[in-house]
């Protein structure tokens, strides 16, 4: 070792380097972040797989539920027949799809924290709030486009099953088009909710537990409460409020109006996202 130590001292006698590489002409900060997130989204298997699964369960759900009601129509009670909502029934795959879409949203952030990739991401783009917002924009748009298409497909397939005595819906019916579009909007809000909770918890198990705890566990727990207590609280829960957007027949007299419910769900998402945007600037990564 000491032989190397006695090498002649190196002094900074070189001129400063002229680095030649410059950002592409016309590159904007926002556009660059979006391109980067777009590449990241499609370059791992999990995201396309979760998106494909979500689309699949929405479409297959339309078929299976449609076929189930057609074959079992005779066994339904008159009350059940009166409250039958052909649009909602064909879209109910959305309930299963929210698991895939929600997990995708949570993992989009917690995955980066778990591997430590978030440090590389934020070193390349130190505008943290922008990274978060653009990530949400990219994933939100992709989910919206795919799930809206899946909603229309499920609606078409479901209605084709409703023949004979089973009532079916047509896109021109009151509230029907809104409900079909609502399937895609609801799942978009779910993915954004998942991302916000993922950014807040920074842990996959905690993020998933909080998302599904709020969306799925809370309604069941509230329904256990006696009589009207549960009925009155239930409509204001995020998942229940949001799902009014893709129903035509409201499930209970206490239910919120479609856009009111969706607005309330969007408000919950906005509060979580706002907290995430504030915290991401303050916390060390």
């Amino acid at each position: 070792m000491s032989a190397h130590v006695t090498e002649p001292p190196r002094r900074p006698e070189h001129p400063q380097v002229r680095t030649r590489l410059r950002p592409r002409a016309g590159a904007t900060r926002l556009g660059a972040t979006a391109r980067s997130e777009w590449i990241k989204l499609w370059s791992v298997r999990s995201a396309p797989a979760a998106l494909a699964a979500a689309v699949l369960v929405v479409v297959v759900g339309g078929f299976v539920l449609g076929a189930g009601y057609r074959s079992g129509w005779a066994s339904l009670s008159p009350g059940d027949r009166r409250s039958f909502d052909p649009t909602f029934t064909s879209l109910r795959g959305v309930q299963l799809a929210q698991l895939f879409v929600g997990s995708l949203g949570v993992l989009a952030l917690t995955g980066e924290y778990a591997t430590g990739l978030i440090r590389t991401t934020l070193a390349a783009t130190p505008q943290r709030a922008q990274v978060l917002a653009v990530k949400a924009l990219v994933l939100g748009l992709v989910v919206w486009a795919l799930c809206t298409a899946a909603s229309f497909a499920a609606f078409a397939i479901g209605q084709s099953q409703f023949t004979g005595p089973v009532p079916h819906a047509s896109p021109g019916g009151p509230g029907v088009l809104r409900a079909v579009l609502g399937g895609g909007i609801f799942l978009t809000l779910v993915v954004l909710f998942g991302m916000a909770l993922g950014a807040l918890t920074r842990s996959t198990p905690l993020g998933l537990a909080s998302l599904f705890g709020v969306l799925l566990v809370l309604p069941v727990a509230v329904q256990l409460l006696p009589g009207s207590v549960g009925e009155r609280v239930d409509p204001y829960l995020p998942g229940e409020a949001g799902s009014q957007l893709w129903r035509v027949v409201p499930p209970s007299p206490h239910s919120l109006a479609p856009w009111t419910g969706a607005g309330l769900f969007a408000l919950y998402v906005a509060v979580a996202a706002g907290a995430a945007l504030v915290l991401v600037r303050r916390r060390d990564v």
Partner: protein, 307 residues
């Protein structure tokens, strides 16, 4: 505006009651490899994360090219960093990983192929990085640091877990980057590695700066060069050397350890006074000795900073 310079002023980071980084002042200059040396847990990685705007200082500041990191629009063009080689998504290919980074900073796509070529990963560019060895991951991390052709490069413990070939490769790379006039800051807890790579050293212990000096000066001042002498009349020689201002210790093995007077002067004095010498040897202290002296005493020592 300063170019290719990192400057910390009163940089501090506290986690609750523990102080990880304590009022650091330093300036990392271009054209040389600056070693960031300290034992594990001394605060090196925390400092590096603060340079990159990942951890926020409790007080003080650290500026890259005169600006706060979070205010830089295209940071990869100014500073590239290798922090943790394993901090990648295991399911993404090396190419896509770099492509996403390049896109985030408006770096044209051909540059991705160029850096993959430079670090020798072209043949595995389209393999998932989950299957990479630590050495390959380290090369991928370095490719990411070089992507924007930055004037400043940061390497956090780059030789950890590398084989001898890889270590030699990184060492050569860092030296050539500095020779091109870039600023290179490399952290390590391995003094031997620093001795081979660095021109300048920042020594840190328990979050505090212990030395900011050139490698040679640190060795010279940290321990001091000495001369080892064996003489027949050692007591008389010792007394005569002390008369001319040398510090002399008599070791149990019979040698005299002399500091403050060079070997030539000792030889001349011995000849003039009629001594018979059996040995006259310069002993150069190592970086390790210098380092232990620094950290044991926790003496804050600083060479005059050139203006």
């Amino acid at each position: 505006m300063d170019t290719h310079v990192i400057e910390a002023r009163g940089l501090s980071k506290r986690y609750g009651a523990t102080t990880a980084v304590d009022r650091l002042d330093f300036r990392v200059e271009p054209g040389r490899v600056t070693g960031f040396l300290g034992p594990n847990g001394a605060g090196k990685s925390t400092t590096m994360r603060m340079i990159l705007g990942l951890d926020l200082p409790t007080s003080g500041s650290v500026l890259v090219n005169g600006r706060d990191y979070q205010g830089i629009v295209w940071p990869l063009h100014e500073i590239g960093a290798l922090l943790d080689a394993r901090a990648v998504h295991p399911g993404r290919t090396a190419y896509r990983h770099l492509h996403s980074l390049a896109a985030a900073n408006g770096i044209p796509r051909p540059r991705v192929d160029a850096v993959l070529e430079q670090v020798g990963l072209t043949s595995v560019a389209h393999r998932r990085v989950g299957g990479f060895s630590l050495g390959m991951s380290q090369r991928l991390g370095i490719a990411g640091a070089l992507l924007g052709d930055p004037g400043i490069l940061l390497f956090d413990e780059p030789v950890n877990g590398l084989d001898p070939d890889g270590i030699l490769w990184i060492r050569t790379l860092m030296r050539s980057l500095a020779a091109e006039g870039r600023t290179v800051l490399v952290s390590s807890h391995l003094m031997s590695e620093m001795a081979l790579t660095a021109d300048h050293l920042l020594v840190i212990g328990e979050g505090r700066l212990l030395a900011d000096t050139s490698l040679d000066e640190l060795i010279a001042r940290g321990a001091g060069d000495r001369v080892e002498v064996r003489a027949v009349e050692r007591a008389r020689l010792a007394a005569e050397l002390r008369e001319v201002g040398a510090e002399v210790t008599l070791e149990p093995d019979g040698t005299l350890q002399v500091t403050g007077v060079g070997s030539a002067a000792i030889g001349e004095l011995a000849a003039a006074r009629g001594h018979v010498l059996h040995q006259l040897r310069d002993v150069t202290s190592s970086l390790e000795e210098a380092y232990f002296r620094l950290t044991e005493g926790s003496v804050v020592y600083r060479a005059p900073v050139p203006a």
